[in-house]
Amino acid sequence: MSNNHNETICSQENGKYVKQLALWTLAWLVSTVLLRFGAEYIWDFQAAYSIVALTIHLVLGAAMIRVNVKHLSSLDELQRKITMDAMGITLGIGLIAGIAYEQLEDIKLIPFEPEIGHLIMLMGITYMVSILIGNRKYK
């Protein structure tokens, strides 16, 4: 059988997109920090600087989404299924838990304001666990 290394090429392409995705995500995170703390500690809430920081943040976010789509298209059909399943579960749990969490303060079950960071952490953990379970299922 001719060993044409298609799988190797496929995984090299996938690896390339994983690295790109990691870099764009890091850039986006840095822009989030800059947007949040820059206004307060660097440019003293001057609107022009905040608009520039916000624009950079949104552009980097769009680039991150674009690379994520490319990464998804570089996966084979089982890997894509595992990833899409994990994304679906994450979206579902994020929506259900997010709405329930948001209500907690309104119905006086918690004394503090719900924070979006908690929801993002929950979604991150859900995604990672779903990917692990998916990979284990098709091992």
């Binding site: 059988m1 060993n3 298609n6 799988e7 090429i9 084979d76 299924k81 098709y138 091992k139």
Partner: protein
């Protein structure tokens, strides 16, 4: 869905990595298809059939039929 991939692969003395290479999929995917844990899409099923020079029905057996 059952399949004859393991037998067909053994007849040709191919490893799962060889099969995965030929189909341009990961070894995880080749293994999951072979074990019947994952049913391939129609294009991939035809690609497998073409690789073994057989029809799809000669490789994949529908257990519900």
């Amino acid at each position: 869905m059952k399949n004859r991939l393991k037998v067909l692969r053994a007849e040709r003395d191919w490893t799962q990595a060889d099969l995965a290479n030929a189909l341009a999929v990961s070894r995880q995917t080749a293994n999951a298809i072979e074990k019947g844990k994952f049913d391939p899409s129609l294009p991939l099923a035809f690609k497998i059939a073409k690789l073994f020079k057989l029809s799809v029905e000669e490789i994949f057996i529908d257990e519900q039929a």
